[in-house]
Symmetry: C2
């Protein structure tokens, strides 16, 4: 199977929004009038971001999901994406489920594959995604203000629990692992919530490297600090949204670490004025996504963790850094 | 050096056109009214597209140049790009010249780095580039008509000669090799010519996999055929534009093969009505790029090569296919 047959067979679809199909030198896109184009780019490398034996269908899903999550964090509506793919060989048994998982998520969000590149090399997936957002209305990292509530969508830590079980460093009941694994391998980008938060949230980011690290970007870029209540944060762990009553199998310390610094969650962390608390809950309900208030933004720089009694926790959590 | 220091140190620049700098979840772009956004994406893999010991400065140049060449083939003006970079380690001695070569070419074309991703992995560079083109005026592959002239910009084959010398399969005088190597490692995207050809060329493509193979895309997508005169095509070889008189060192057969199927040229192959011959020459002169007429488009499908006497050549040339 050659390069062009590979593209035709697995990635060519009827043209929708894009002025050209896959296969000219460039794709052509025209955002509607008054819209800005939001652009984000992520690269996934075998052995680093996914195991060599991961299910190709879920990998296709995840490769696009992590990019859609960036659009969600900007409040943008998905439009289109490009895919660059390096593969050791043109392997139909891998490409078929990979493209199916990728395009199923793309179709669910009306996000069209408009171009890309295929080449031989160590298995690497690079997706650049395009969304549109009304000019001036994108959610940024820089808008958090003292007094704002600090919110997180969905659940945190499940992906890390699944990863540690796969690595053999943690044990969990089968039901917990199965649910957590879905969260690791098929994260749900909060695309609807991101759009619903336009005009409400003052700042937003998607949680990919761990909550505290990603929250740090909001704090630095907004010039503020925050206090996170660990009791509230612990409400974020739910083993894929299914409460199993098996929490006792993992120590509270491990659970808290997975929530605060787990990574690979693809939830939204965002800030909104306390006066908008009901509006945030209403927007989340409309988007069908649970949101949890875990703390508040403060003028004093830095990130503080406090326990149920309001006493500070000293423990430090590392954020994921690809070169640390 | 961590991931964020790496980005700050080598890739962060003052924000220009982009609504946001590098470092939010998405970059925001707004093409001017009446403009379409042209998007292209290329991935370069170490050992496949470049030698591990290649000069990082020229690699930075080439990584962007091959993408700008796709914009040129659409007649688009460069606006911005994203960069995803996998590296075995955060190596300042490599990153410094790489980013310098990359950003020098970006600056020369007013093309702003607006986002990206960095990760640990086998050295891989994925760039997605954005340009703008007036709605409906993009040069496509599908517009060639019987009777059109077939043109090629600049020179062809030099890059392949340099590659074969580096591989040890070909010998060439030092002056020839030095000039050819510049063409291999620092190709010149024909960005000005592409824009000058809007409204003149009926179809265009950039020559990256070899002239005959890339020309085949125009023919298939336009539903036409072509005859190429090998005597005219031989005018395209020039060892980097410097005639050395050393052509005798390489057989005519090798030279013709490098011209017709060399690859890595990043010249434009395009078609235009014969009545526009003078206008094409004038546009090329204005863009400062030589163009050579090498044949004509015909209604009969297929690609025919003829010698000086108009007799058909039977030889077949393979186009570069990453999975063949």
């Amino acid at each position: 199977m050659g390069e062009f047959e590979l593209i035709d067979r697995f990635f060519k679809r009827p043209v929708q929004r894009n002025a050209l199909g896959v296969g000219d030198d460039c794709a052509l896109l025209a955002p509607a009038q008054g819209m800005q184009l939001a652009v984000s780019c992520d690269m996934l490398v075998e052995g680093r971001h996914f195991f060599p034996d991961v299910n190709p269908f879920t990998l296709g899903h995840k490769a696009l999901a992590v990019n859609l999550s960036d659009l969600a964090a900007c409040g943008a509506r998905p439009l289109a994406f490009t895919l660059a793919l390096a593969l050791p060989r043109a392997d139909a048994a891998w490409l078929e489920p990979f493209s199916r998982g990728l395009l199923a998520l793309a179709d669910a969000h009306g996000c069209e594959l408009v171009g890309g590149d295929t080449t031989r090399g160590p298995r690497t997936i690079c997706i650049t995604v395009f969304g549109e957002v009304p000019a001036g209305q994108a959610l940024l990292r820089s808008g958090a203000r003292a007094g704002d509530d600090l919110w997180v969508s969905g659940t945190l830590g499940d992906a890390r629990i699944a990863l540690e079980v796969l690595r053999g460093t943690l044990q969990a009941p089968a039901a917990v692992f199965d649910a957590a694994r879905v969260r690791l391998e098929q994260p749900t980008p909060r695309v609807g919530l991101g759009q619903a938060l336009r005009g409400l949230a003052t700042a937003a980011i998607d949680v990919s490297d761990g909550l505290l690290g990603d929250l740090g970007h909001i704090l630095r870029q907004s010039g503020v600090g925050a206090t996170v209540e660990t009791v509230l944060a612990m409400e974020l762990i739910a083993y894929g949204g299914h409460s199993t009553g098996a929490a006792g199998q993992l120590s509270a310390e491990v659970q808290l670490e997975c929530v605060l610094a787990g990574g690979d969650d693809y939830e939204l962390a965002f800030t909104a004025p306390a006066a908008q608390r009901a509006a945030v809950q209403a927007a989340a309900a409309e988007a069908g996504t649970r949101v949890t208030r875990i703390g508040r933004i403060e003028a004093e720089p830095g990130l503080r963790l406090v326990d149920a009694q309001g006493a500070p926790l000293q423990r430090r959590y590392a954020s994921f850094d690809h070169f640390a």
